[in-house]
Symmetry: C2
Subunit: 433 residues, 2 copies
């Protein structure tokens, strides 16, 4: 295990070794800090990092003998999430000097489990669209995606094995796909949101970035209090649906070709793979998500809009104004559309264990003025379903591509199990090719 | 209108007069402050009040000529709700010196509408059960109810015409009933919760206290962005269901007798009044609410539990520990019970415009060590339905009693309309008796 540098270890391996007493949290943290010192100027993943404070946390953990699920595991925390011992800026100059009075519930849970909050990762402005300073780790001219830009880039660049992220539209899955890491957005409501600055209460969901499924399951167990242990042979013959709709016309051809590769791999692995045509009523879903999100954003950012209009990006100001022009009665109708689709989706999951859809249109685009398109993510977020991004090779520019594995609401364990099976197949393929 | 002192005016009358230019916000605020100066030592409704700051706000409003829905209306804000210009303690010594970086979304909306945040009203510890300093305005040995203790007492005592409150179990309706004011808990999700410290995401709902239904409708219009205007003749022959279950065995006999009076009044007024037997599956609802609330509380208060255990009341510490021992999988099952009842309730509302149930077991009990029993409130809160408390006379000790008017989820306007009709009947009865 010690062959790779410590900052490349998985969270699972770190916790195993620190609990066994063969590794100290301090050594892991120092290795991560060294990696960050080397790479941060070309990645810009961190909104806040205090090396001494991180080391002090690690020493505290090392002093306590108690076995703990995340013992000594460094975690990056998206800067939309409150930390009592570190600034929390929400990606906005309004809060440049802000320090909350508390840790978010998810941060408190990580600390209780023995994890180390390494620092705060860059978020777009209020987890909406206006980008932060983060660059794609493989190409500084490309976006890492957003809004969880720093979390995806830091995990991809081996600065930290795990990072917290949030998704309202596509803010976990898109950056995970662009950066080539695992992104996991649990079922809506599975992780307590206290301390996450709200954008849209109807959709805001805490998720995470990792470099393998096992690590995501480990962190999710801590955050949800549920057993996410992935046992071998959980499903005998997985039933896979490959979602078809007219959005796919907008995907790059390499994206669709990689999805076909995955289908072939799954079929050869013994899964039952078939296409699922999107039901007609789903046509309105993306627009419904947009409406509800914007209306809610117009309310949750009202204080900032009224008090600091000049310190909001003009893009966000326009979004807030759009949301403020929306009628709650129309929002009720949109929620009804979403509700109908949720029921329809539950019925579809009687026939499938998991559904596949590309994570993004294609590779991370050039340009840092925006964080890419969430078209392939928003309607899934609206459905409350758990989603995993799994990297599936690279595109024409050698940039990562990803696929969304979508599970039934509340059946995250099955989803993670299947994601892990596919991950193993893809690793095997990579190893043999 | 000027015959009553300004601090006794309704919010509707204040806004009408300030917008017409016949009254200044400053005069209203000064009158409220005088009333508070006289009465606060025997009521203890306020967690924070800065007279100069309140007057300064009023002068700002008076300087601006714009007509606004809450122009010059003083509003008390429960101290579980964030204010950027006033301390926010959440009823806990942990946050004795805490000042948030923002206004809650509901506070920002009130300011935008021209309302004046008069001060912060006392909440129980984190809006859970441990009481604050507030006494019942009519009898200092009795509880005003909770958790929105200060909001109910301040409105009842004519210190302020409107106050924000929140309800997770019975925290709007119970204190409103004990203190003899209107309490209105809207449909779940109708008022954006950003800036309210979460106890239980599944149930936390922002509501309000007022002295008449018209004022509640006015504030609700501002907070929801929905038209709550109550037009005459909205419903021709109201269909009233009087809810029957075995909890009623625990009600004081005077409570049941007052409910019968209301039934008679409604029948004579032309409403179709009939009993509704609670369906069997509702038997689990109170326990399900308890389970979900406690589990969520164990997560949302984890930071305080870990960092400041000695500054939590022992009652709350025990509740948190109880919640931490609960399994999320059982919580899923409990949510399922609640969901089933919600659907059943929607079906019941096909036959009724509104359902009646006593607000509390009886009058506000003696003793300030607890805030009374929420048994009659919790299961309604779990159903997401809108609820109004309407005062219906007094009990054996001359303390107020109240009735819950319960509406269909999302049909708050119909509920408020019916509440206003009944309010007029009760006023007529009071006038003629």
């Amino acid at each position: 295990m010690r062959e790779s540098p410590l900052h490349e270890l998985s969270a699972t391996d770190i916790a195993r070794a620190t609990n066994a007493g063969t590794l100290t949290a301090e050594a892991v943290v120092r290795s991560c800090l060294e990696r960050i010192a080397q790479r941060e100027s070309t990645v810009g993943a961190w909104a806040f990092l205090d090396a001494d404070h991180a080391i002090a946390q690690a020493r505290d953990i090392d002093k306590s003998g108690k076995p703990r699920p995340l013992r000594g595991v460094p975690v990056g925390v998206k800067d939309i999430i409150a930390t009592a011992d570190m600034p929390t800026t929400y990606g906005s100059p309004i809060y440049a000097n802000h320090r909350p009075a508390w840790d978010a519930a998810c941060v408190a849970a990580i600390r209780e489990a023995g994890g180390i909050i390494l620092g705060k990762t860059v978020t777009t402005e209020f987890a909406s669209s206006h980008p932060g300073k983060t660059m794609h780790p493989r190409d500084p001219e490309r976006t890492p995606g957003g809004s969880s830009s720093g979390s995806a880039a830091a995990v991809a660049d081996r600065m930290v094995p795990l990072a917290l992220a949030t998704q309202t539209g596509g803010s976990v899955i898109r950056p995970a796909s662009f950066c080539g890491v695992i992104g996991y957005k649990p079922s809506f409501g599975w992780i307590n949101r206290h301390g996450v600055k709200p954008l849209s209460e109807s959709f805001d969901t805490i998720g995470m970035m990792s470099r393998n499924i096992e690590d995501a399951a480990l962190l999710a167990s801590v955050l949800t209090g549920r057993s996410m242990m992935l046992e071998a042979g959980m499903i005998e013959r997985p039933r896979i649906g490959v979602w078809q709709n007219n959005m796919l016309e907008r995907a790059q051809s390499v994206t669709l070709s990689r999805v076909r590769d995955v289908m072939g791999l799954l079929s050869r692995g013994g899964a039952a793979v078939e296409f699922v045509q999107q039901p007609d009523e789903f046509a309105e879903l993306d627009a419904a998500h947009h409406f509800v999100e914007y209306l809610e954003m117009g309310k949750s950012l009202l204080f900032e809009y009224r008090e600091y209009p000049d310190r909001l990006s003009s893009a966000l100001r326009k979004r807030i104004e759009e949301g403020r022009s929306y009628a709650p009665e129309t929002c009720d109708r949109m929620q009804q559309v979403i509700e109908t689709c949720r029921h329809r989706m539950a019925a579809i999951f009687l026939k499938f264990d998991v559904v596949l859809f590309p994570s993004t249109l294609g590779e991370a685009p050039k340009g840092l003025w925006n964080t890419g398109n969430a078209l392939f993510n928003r309607f899934w977020t609206a459905l409350y379903v758990p989603i995993v991004n799994l990297p599936i090779g690279v595109g024409d520019n050698q940039m990562p591509l990803g696929i969304q594995l979508i599970g039934r609401e509340g059946d995250d364990r099955r989803l993670l199990w299947l994601a892990q099976s596919l991950e193993a197949m893809l690793d095997g393929k990579a190893a043999s090719s």
